[in-house]
Symmetry: C2
Subunit: 249 residues, 2 copies
């Protein structure tokens, strides 16, 4: 193993995203291109909630393992983004989880079913848990690196908003608040995480670890779409107990 320059390491990480990020998954092509039924969009939002619910847990787990006050403080903004806060005017600002529930509400899913995760595909819960476990158990550097899928998020989100609004009359613009809010946050967060990784992955072994962490995270996102595709597109085998859309496929 040879030591890469920070620029070469960044290029290697961007290559992983270009090859493995879930923008390449056939479910996303369906979703963004208007190929999904309402039931499939419901299933996507319901299952993706498992991932959304884990994000502040993994962010808090990362903060809980970090000795540097400056890093903890920077990372804390992610908790604010997902859990909201009281604004200067005394009113709550809506966090990402509340915004996601606005989407599932708008899609006609019972909130209790969404929040309990009881109708989600087990594979969705397992993938989200694997992400949480990774952040809890690996090195801080690997935990930071596993967030770097956000480097690739702004592009997919732009495509998603446009695609969903143009193709699905059952998706109202105000239910997409989560995606409206994400790109600047994802850019800020991924810039911080990338700078951290560039500065701290200073041995060939650590550079290998951060690349593996990003591969792992791509696997988490990909596995969630694989499970959705198999249950709700093809072959259409919904596991026992999981959500069954009302509309015919």
């Amino acid at each position: 193993m040879t030591l890469l320059s920070p620029d070469a390491l960044e290029a290697a990480l961007r290559k992983i995203g270009a090859e493995r990020y879930h923008h390449l998954h056939p479910f996303h092509r369906l979703l963004h291109g208007g190929g999904c039924t309402r039931g499939q969009v419901q299933a996507w939002a319901l299952n993706r909630y498992c991932y959304q619910a884990v994000i502040p847990l993994k962010d808090a787990a990362l903060i809980a393992r970090c000795d540097d006050p400056a890093v903890r403080r920077a990372w804390r903004s992610r908790l604010v983004d997902h859990d909201g806060e009281e604004g200067a005017d005394g009113r709550d600002t809506e966090g990402g989880i509340a915004q996601w529930l606005r989407l599932t509400d708008g899609l006609g899913l019972a909130r209790d079913m969404v929040v309990s995760q009881r109708a989600a595909l087990p594979a969705s819960r397992f993938a989200a848990l694997a992400y949480l476990d990774f952040v809890r158990s690996r090195s801080l550097l690997e935990a930071v690196a596993s967030s770097l899928t956000e480097l690739f998020a702004p592009a997919i989100i732009g495509e998603r908003i446009a695609g969903m609004l143009s193709h699905y009359d059952f998706v109202a613009p105000d239910t997409l608040a989560y995606f409206q809010a994400r790109p600047p946050r994802a850019s800020r967060d991924s810039a911080f995480a990338l700078a951290y990784v560039r500065a701290h992955a200073t041995t060939p072994e650590r550079q290998r670890q951060v690349q593996d962490a990003l591969v792992f995270k791509c696997e988490v996102l990909w596995a969630m779409l694989d499970a959705l595709y198999a249950a709700y597109v093809s072959p259409g085998h919904v596991p026992p107990g999981a959500f069954v859309p009302e509309d015919p496929r």
Copy 2:
């Protein structure tokens, strides 16, 4: 919630197995009925290794949380079954993991690829990890109850041995040692776990927990076959980096 008698609780648990155990999964019907290609059997053995590798970890995690020496001692036999021991004649007896590797060897899979789990479907690793996390984090009673899928294992294993030997000329009898050894062990272990659950699930809430634990464990096994089916049967989308069989499907 009402309190069930031990017999009624056992009946409820057996009903969960009858409805949710993975003997009902279409992949098993293919596997046992001779409908799999060699590549699909390879993929099954390769991915199931992720689960096999986690079993002694979850059993040790359970022992590590148990205050009762008698339960710890009884549960220890599971470690022996999976990791082997030195026999009275000084020779090692083969544990379940070694036997599983005999199967993957016989199927022509490189041992390093199997043991590293690097070519396994991420969904297989995530499901196995979810099982380990469950045993580590839930109550001891729930951890014990999650093993109760073994109540249903002897029947499926008998079917598997017969089916694989009669249908697949690439499966040699001596590579099925794992399955030859399992039924008496599974019967012994599940009898112990069932007696424990009958004795300790003494409130409606605990009875709900043990049923939920068994449902969860059925979800783990089912999710592994869902992932296999989606990657290697239909729609046949192998995720980036995962095993690709050499034979055409």
